[in-house]
């Protein structure tokens, strides 16, 4: 009965964890790992975006260096600007990639296991539907933001390194690039943005995608995107209003202050204090909606078998 972890091989670090905690966190941990095994694009796509970006950055730096030979040696302020815009570009590119990956992941997460019949294997193991759906929701709202943050920071670091080497001896004061670089500023705002907007604000969107992926008999992409489209159209024709569209736009664009990384890096500390964001009613209705979608997806998975 209660042999529990006794029969586990020694190598498993989890033996230290108390059995009670193990029963909840262990399946969750392994379910998330399982998702990363299956959907390797979760980390490969942002990494690839970063590498492609670094390649472009390298070319732009080399051409900058060539142009500098002629006329204007950069002063350190200009040098900083050159970096700051490119940092933001890197962050935006990786974030955008992660967003696309998140959307496609969520649409396949509960659909793929039904299509390839593997749901019967997953259901033969003592992992509840709640844990499974939670682990799948964790990918777009926890793992992807954190992952894109880490990749962005690493990319920016490599950019700084690469830029310093290329600009070495060009008259630019390299040291100020490192000390004054808006590196810390940008990265903190970025982390804040990723966790609040991508983690919390977008949670109902990912919840919806997961629900559709758990329900759709086929073509989850169509089922996810067509209904909102149709609702907007019907509303326009029937009442000549666009409330639903406004609602969607609000959800997609987010509350003004949360979309922070570009705006006012000077008072970024203020924007980091989350009271303002957490007072937005839209956040809480969104989270409530996400919880409803989640509960529906969990319940649905109980009924679903292979298709």
């Amino acid at each position: 009965m209660s042999t529990q972890s006794n029969s586990m091989p020694e190598s498993f670090d989890s033996q230290k964890i108390a059995p009670a905690a193990m029963s909840a966190t262990r399946p969750l941990y392994w379910s998330v790992r399982r998702e990363l095994w299956e959907y390797r694009s979760i980390y490969i796509a942002p990494l690839a975006a970063a590498i492609v970006f670094l390649f472009g950055f390298f070319i732009s730096m080399v051409s900058l260096r060539h142009r500098m030979h002629g006329a204007w040696p950069l002063d350190s302020a200009q040098g900083r600007d050159v970096f700051a815009t490119r940092y933001e570009l890197a962050a935006a590119l990786i974030m955008g990639t992660a967003l696309i990956v998140g959307i496609f992941y969520s649409l396949d997460a509960l659909y793929g296991e039904r299509r390839d019949r593997s749901i019967l294997f997953w259901k033969s193991l003592p992992v509840s539907d709640l844990i499974t759906v939670l682990s799948k929701l964790a990918i777009p709202i926890v793992i992807l933001p954190l992952l894109s943050f880490a990749i962005t920071i690493a990319t920016q670091f490599v950019m700084l390194l690469l830029g310093s080497i290329i600009l070495l001896g060009s008259g630019v004061n390299i040291a100020t690039l490192w000390t004054e670089a808006s590196f810390v500023h940008v990265s903190l705002v970025l982390l804040y943005h990723l966790l609040t907007v991508h983690g919390l604000w977008y949670a109902p969107l990912y919840g919806w995608l997961l629900l559709v992926s758990g329900w759709a008999p086929r073509a989850p992409f169509l089922w996810a995107f067509l209904p909102p489209f149709v609702i907007c159209g019907v509303e326009k024709i029937a009442f000549n209003t666009a409330h639903f569209l406004t609602l969607l736009q609000y959800r997609l664009l987010g509350p003004e202050d949360a979309m922070a990384p570009h705006s006012a890096p000077s008072d970024f500390m203020a924007s980091l204090i989350p009271t303002h964001f957490f007072n937005t009613p839209g956040l809480w209705t969104g989270l409530a909606l996400a919880a409803v979608f989640l509960a529906a997806a969990v319940r649905l998975r109980r009924y679903q078998g292979p298709i």
Binding site: R26, R33, S124, L125, P126, D129
Partner: protein
């Protein structure tokens, strides 16, 4: 101890009735074969037992309600649903890691031991394995779980005879220990004839025969009747008759014969225990949907 107990188990898909009031009781340590034609309700019954589909009626598996407590049930029960449900993208090593991670009763060393006897490489993806190897892998995973109930739904479908034999051999030699319970459905009944301890025929959502293998062997007799004795044999009301190589093979239910008649049978021809498949055909052709195989009238067509 009763492992599975069902009373009045019903399940309908739209207007199709898949299970029509099934009563079932499986005790600990039995190997039950659930035999039935396509669409008889075998898989539906197993799915209900495993908590994969909702149902009407009473059902307890290892004392739990499978529909509401599937995840807890799966600590003590496990199943091979089909040959092709292992995720094709997964590596063998990942499958071992994952099951070891989520299953508190999985013995990884044991699974590695089973795999060492096969040609399966740890680094292979499941999509790269042959059908037989996937089944070997799934069996290795399942046998390394210290479960009380193992459910196998067509585990050997599409496998050649060597893999099939090996499958049941390892199941009996390395897994079954008389305290574990196994429920298996298959169309390859000849493979399991000597594996089972209990036999259950199911047709159109109803159980049409339910007996232990000892009962089966002592109750049914097949007689390859000498041509000149056919009329005399038919007078004893066999439950089924078929022709093979010019001889009439008659199947008798000894419960329907009186003492004297039983002794007559040996004189009519060569007597042997029928195969499950032959009894299955006899039972199904006679009284589809009836509760027992008794009272079969007009047996031979």
């Amino acid at each position: 101890m009763t492992v599975i107990e069902a009373r009045g188990l019903r399940k309908a898909f739209g207007s199709t009735i898949a299970l029509d009031g099934v009563d079932l009781r499986v005790a600990e340590g039995r190997i039950l074969g659930l035999i039935g034609p396509n669409g008889a309700g075998k898989t539906t019954a197993l799915n209900a037992i495993l908590g994969l589909i909702p149902y009407q009626g009473e059902l307890k598996v290892l004392g739990r309600d499978p529909w509401t407590e599937r995840d807890q049930l799966m600590r003590d029960a496990c199943f091979i649903a089909d040959v092709a449900v292992l995720p094709r993208w997964m590596r063998v090593s990942q499958a071992l890691d994952y099951v070891a991670g989520v299953h508190p009763r999985f013995d990884r060393a044991k699974a590695e031991g089973f795999l060492a006897r096969t040609d399966i490489k740890r680094a292979s993806k499941i999509r790269e394995l042959s059908k037989g190897m996937v089944t070997q892998l799934h069996l290795a995973l399942v046998m390394a779980i210290d479960a009380k109930l193992l459910v196998l739904d067509e585990p050997t479908l599409g496998l050649d005879i060597l893999y099939r034999k090996q499958f049941y051999d390892s199941l009996l030699n390395d897994y079954y220990d008389r305290s574990r319970t196994i429920v298996v459905t298959t169309h390859q009944v000849e493979d399991v004839q000597h594996v089972l301890t209990d036999l259950m025929f199911i047709n159109r959502g109803r159980i049409v025969l339910n007996c232990s293998m000892e009962e089966f062997e002592s109750r049914y007799l097949e007689v390859s009747v000498h041509p000149e004795q056919v009329a005399a044999a038919r007078a004893l009301k066999p439950i089924h008759e078929r022709q093979m190589l010019g001889r009439s093979i008659l199947l008798f239910d000894l419960m329907m014969l009186d003492h004297g008649d039983r002794h007559q049978l040996a004189a009519l021809g060569d007597v042997r225990t029928p195969s499950i498949a032959d009894l299955f055909v006899a039972v199904l052709e006679n009284k589809p949907g009836s509760q027992t195989a008794q009272g079969a009238q007009g047996a031979a067509r």
